[in-house]
């Protein structure tokens, strides 16, 4: 948790975004994570994405669970409300918050322990409801705050710092997400900001649950040679299947894409996500194809990254529930209370 506030440097020389704010306005408190932690790079990418999308910081609500990853909402968007909840339960808090106020941009930051062990149930059910949020898993394969135990995402054969070798099969949030029926499933590497920022933007624009599994090495407990979640291992085996460009609603599409390789996806807010396939055969709109591809690459020891699956057709939670367009918190009490005459009518049945 950060309790050291960052000095605000004047806006001089900083380029403002479309709503007149600079990158500084999207920053948060000073990180208290270890120097070189992958999570800090993700924080920086989040700052960049919200800034570039011209989203007023106070219209964002940041929620997290418990763990190193879950501390990070204190390090970005200090003008946004944040809530650091209990271990593994961030999704339920966002569900309730979103039920109450559907107009905010929700971002949940979680870790592999928080999402894939104690919070597996809530993670799965938020996805099942297609809750409209960005869900970031800062995935490093270990428990950091309790000093280096394996997490559920640790790969078979990966060795802990103290020598223990993991023999249990990992839970892959991407495969799990595909199985559960997630509508936006992406994987990225914290060390590749070029890839991460457009993915975050596309996730924000997605009308539903956007899962970002970001491999984010733990420099203290899981960055050694025999780890499969280290910087070097991730860099060496990372295989981008698809490049993602994010085009804001009003922006003119300047880049030219080869027909057949570029796939524009129109988002609900009018923005476009252009997917440029690196593997020509990859189809990010087919769940079964994504599954087969990921499984094939996994066997080769490759870590497939990119926006791996997208479904803009599936309705999000409020659309399924038929909720009012107006956030429930903004509906005046007079419109909620049926009044005394109606109460007498209702009670007629019980007289």
């Amino acid at each position: 948790m950060s309790y050291i506030s960052k000095p605000k440097v004047g806006k001089l020389g900083l380029k403002p975004n479309g709503i007149g704010l600079t990158l500084r306005d999207y920053e948060g408190g000073m990180s208290t994570l270890c120097a070189g932690c992958g999570h800090d790079s993700i924080t920086a990418a989040l700052i960049q994405a919200y800034f570039e999308m011209d989203i007023p910081p106070h219209r964002v609500a940041k929620v997290s669970g418990i763990g190193c990853s879950s501390k990070t909402p204190a390090y970005f968007l200090s003008s946004a409300h944040g809530l650091n909840s209990v271990h593994g339960r961030m999704p339920s808090v966002v569900t309730g918050a979103c039920a109450a106020n559907r107009d905010l941009y929700y971002v949940g930051v979680s870790g592999d322990g928080d999402s894939l062990s104690i919070g597996m149930g809530q993670f799965a059910h938020a996805m099942r409801r297609n809750l409209n949020m960005v869900y970031v898993i800062e995935n490093n394969g270990v428990y950091g705050l309790t000093k280096g135990q394996f997490s559920a995402s640790a790969d078979v054969g990966s060795q802990a710092k103290k020598g223990e070798v993991n023999q249990q099969a990992p839970i892959d949030p991407v495969l799990a997400g595909l199985a559960i029926g997630g509508t936006f499933i992406a994987r990225a590497f914290s060390g590749d900001k070029e890839q991460l920022v457009p993915l975050i933007k596309a996730a924000i624009a997605h009308d539903g649950f956007a899962l970002l599994d970001v491999l984010s090495p733990c420099v203290t407990f899981n960055d050694h040679e025999t780890s499969t979640k280290s910087y070097s291992h991730t860099r060496a085996y990372s295989h981008p299947a698809i490049h993602t460009d994010f085009i804001a609603p009003a922006a003119h599409i300047r880049a030219a894409y080869d027909h057949g390789e570029a796939m524009p996806v129109m988002m609900h807010d009018g923005s476009q996500v252009i997917l440029r396939k690196i593997d020509k055969d990859y189809d990010p709109t087919s769940r079964s194809a994504a599954f087969a591809y990921l499984e094939q690459r996994r066997k080769r020891g490759e870590i497939v990254t990119g926006l791996l699956y997208i479904n803009e057709e599936q309705k999000e939670m409020h659309a399924i529930a038929g909720s009012a367009e107006t956030p429930l918190v903004d509906i005046p009490y007079e419109d909620l209370c049926p009044g005394g005459t109606t109460l007498r009518d209702i009670l007629g049945r019980y007289a």
Partner: protein, 605 residues
């Protein structure tokens, strides 16, 4: 007012109906009770049902009381024994001088008889098989036929019954006639074969007008609707499920835009109770009135989050419709066994505001107050109902609504208020009542703060500093003192006697009747029913002004008594427990016997 006698008579008796669950007996028994209610006679019904869908024994006990006593009396004057499986038990339970009605289609074992009761055999299955073709109808209408027989034996008004059937089947009018035929089958058979009416019978009165028969869960759901609750999150659990079912039904009717179909509410069926309370807290953080109905096992699962909401000061309303524990316990039986669990739910130093309704009307009123208190105090508030209140139909005064009511949203700073501030600090107690101003997400960049369950100081910042930590938890105690002034005051009857009874929730009927009967024996007692925790001054004054106090409650461990001992300066020997933890609603004999036995013992000592 006359004291209920121990012998039955006109408008003063108990009918118990023994059935097999899943055979449609519930609607027939409801019809019987409602007919008596419509005749203006005070009546109450208790359903003793198994945790099962079909095939196990179930009982329905109806007390008819012209004097208006709504608790169980401990007697059974008429037993309708429709379940061969429990026949012996049902016969044994019948009070001396009572009547046993059974289906004489099949022969009855000879050893199952008693000299001190009368047995009335009615060939219900045979009558129905002869008159109705459809197999399912035969089973269902057999129950209606015994209502017909009781109508003759008790002199019930057939027009009232017809009217009730017409209301029930308003959307399926074809069903009215077969039901009336079944009534006539039983009625005629009883008239022809028995001396009608029985000495215990019904005589129309005018003691139920201005009352309704409603269950506590429906009434609580109405409270949520009227309080302006918009978010409901829940996980199905007996006996609380019907609360959310009712809320949903009301919302579909009264919270849906007729033209657009848009819903002004959001109900989420959660994956478990942990998620349900998380959702309520998320919604409360954002400023919605949110609630979750649950029962004991749910409270256990919610405990971590409840402590989080207490410490981070987020409003939440939790209905705990109590059932028998521990563990799965007896999920379809009633108890008041979560008092202690709820008072201090969660790890660490926590304590919570509890409200204790005694009947459906109070479920309605206290539901509304729960939302006001939760938002005013920025904390979880529990409404502790129980299975007896929640799932049984109670006769209670008509629920009324004050049109001038507006929700108390507590200290919430809006955009304009934030703009006037130089800086906003979430946990700064400006007013000295322990309650700090909050802002809602999305309001204003300067109103943003970071909610955390880890140590935080007055400014809302992270801390591990001893002094800063203590300052916040000490302020929470100040807030609890404020709560004691805001919660509803206890209900007190009498203040002139040396002996007092303190009780809670659904014990009310038993205590009220017991005080009358004790008074007839020359034992005069005052009665105080607590409506809330923290207890407040009225409760301590009552304890201080009585030499001896009986604490009447429905759990083994005397949870209310122990809470009183922990939270007041009362000497331990002053409080004497009267307990019922059988899983069945308390009857007045339990109170009378508990009090008289203790007094005798005291006299001997």
């Amino acid at each position: 007012m006359s004291v209920s006698s121990s012998t039955p008579g006109v408008n003063d008796f108990v009918i118990k109906l023994a059935n097999v669950n899943g055979t449609g007996s519930a609607s027939a028994n409801g019809l019987l009770m409602k007919a008596i209610f419509r005749m203006g006679i005070p009546v109450s019904g208790k359903n003793f049902f198994p945790s099962n869908i079909q095939g196990l024994p179930t009982w329905y006990e109806i007390r008819v009381s012209g004097d208006g006593h709504l608790c169980r009396s401990g007697r059974v004057d008429i037993m309708v024994a429709m379940n061969a499986q429990t026949y012996a038990q049902d016969l044994a339970e019948l009070s001396s001088g009572g009547y046993l009605i059974y289906d004489s289609t099949w022969p009855r074992a000879r050893q199952l008889s008693r000299d001190d009761v009368q047995v009335l055999g009615i060939p219900l299955a045979k009558l129905c098989n002869e008159h109705f073709d459809n197999v399912r109808s035969r089973i269902l209408l057999k129950n209606v036929a015994y209502v017909g027989a009781l109508a003759a034996l008790l002199e019930l008004d057939l027009e009232v019954i017809r009217g009730l059937l017409a209301e029930t089947f308003a959307s399926k009018p074809k069903l009215i006639e077969p039901n009336m035929q079944a009534i006539a089958l039983g009625f005629d058979y009883a008239r022809e074969n028995f001396e009608c009416p029985l000495p215990m019978r019904c005589e129309a009165m005018d003691k139920t007008s201005g009352n309704v028969m409603i269950d506590g869960n429906t009434a609580a759901a109405l409270g949520c609707l009227y309080a302006g609750a918009t978010v409901g999150a829940w996980y199905p659990i007996t006996p609380s499920t019907s609360l959310m079912d009712a809320f949903k039904t009301f919302c579909e009717r009264y919270r849906k835009n007729e033209e657009s179909g848009e819903r002004n509410y959001c109900i989420v069926q959660a994956e478990d109770e942990l998620a349900a309370i998380g959702m309520v807290i998320g919604a409360g953080w954002c400023g919605a009135r949110a609630f979750t109905p649950t029962s004991g096992p749910g409270i256990s699962l919610m405990s971590e989050f409840i402590g989080f909401a207490y410490y981070t000061e987020i409003p939440a309303v939790i209905f705990d419709v109590q059932r028998v524990g521990p563990s799965t316990g007896m999920p379809t039986r009633t108890q008041q066994c979560d008092i202690m669990t709820c008072a201090y739910a969660s790890h660490g130093d926590t304590r919570h505001v509890l409200l204790f309704p005694a009947n459906p009307r109070e479920c309605f009123e206290l539901a509304v107050q729960a939302f006001d208190l939760a938002e005013r105090l920025q904390t979880p508030v529990f409404v502790l109902s129980d299975l007896d209140i929640g799932m049984n139909d109670w006769m209670c005064p008509l629920l009324t609504w004050d049109e001038s009511y507006r929700p108390d949203r507590g200290k919430v700073l809006d955009k304009e208020a934030v703009e006037k501030l130089e800086a906003f600090y979430r946990y700064m107690d400006v007013d000295g009542d322990g309650i700090c101003a909050r802002t809602l997400p999305g309001t204003h960049p300067r109103g943003a703060y970071f909610v955390r369950g880890s140590g935080h100081n007055n400014f809302g910042r992270y801390t591990e500093d001893a002094g800063e930590y203590q300052e916040v938890v000490d302020r929470l105690l100040t807030k609890f003192d404020t709560a004691a002034e805001l919660v509803p005051a206890p209900v007190q009857i009498g203040d002139a006697n040396e002996i007092g009874i303190i009780s809670i929730g659904s014990c009310d009927g038993a205590v009220l009747e017991a005080t009358e009967r004790l008074s007839a024996q020359g034992i005069n007692v005052d009665y105080l029913r607590v409506l809330a925790f923290p207890f407040g001054k009225a409760v301590t004054d009552f304890i201080d002004s009585h030499a001896r106090i009986f604490v009447v409650e429905q759990n083994r461990d005397a949870q209310l008594k122990n809470l009183l001992l922990m939270e007041t300066e009362t000497p331990r020997e002053k409080l004497v427990s009267v307990l019922n933890y059988s899983g069945l609603p308390m009857d007045c004999r339990c109170v009378i016997e508990g009090v008289t036995a203790a007094l005798k013992q005291g006299a001997a000592a």
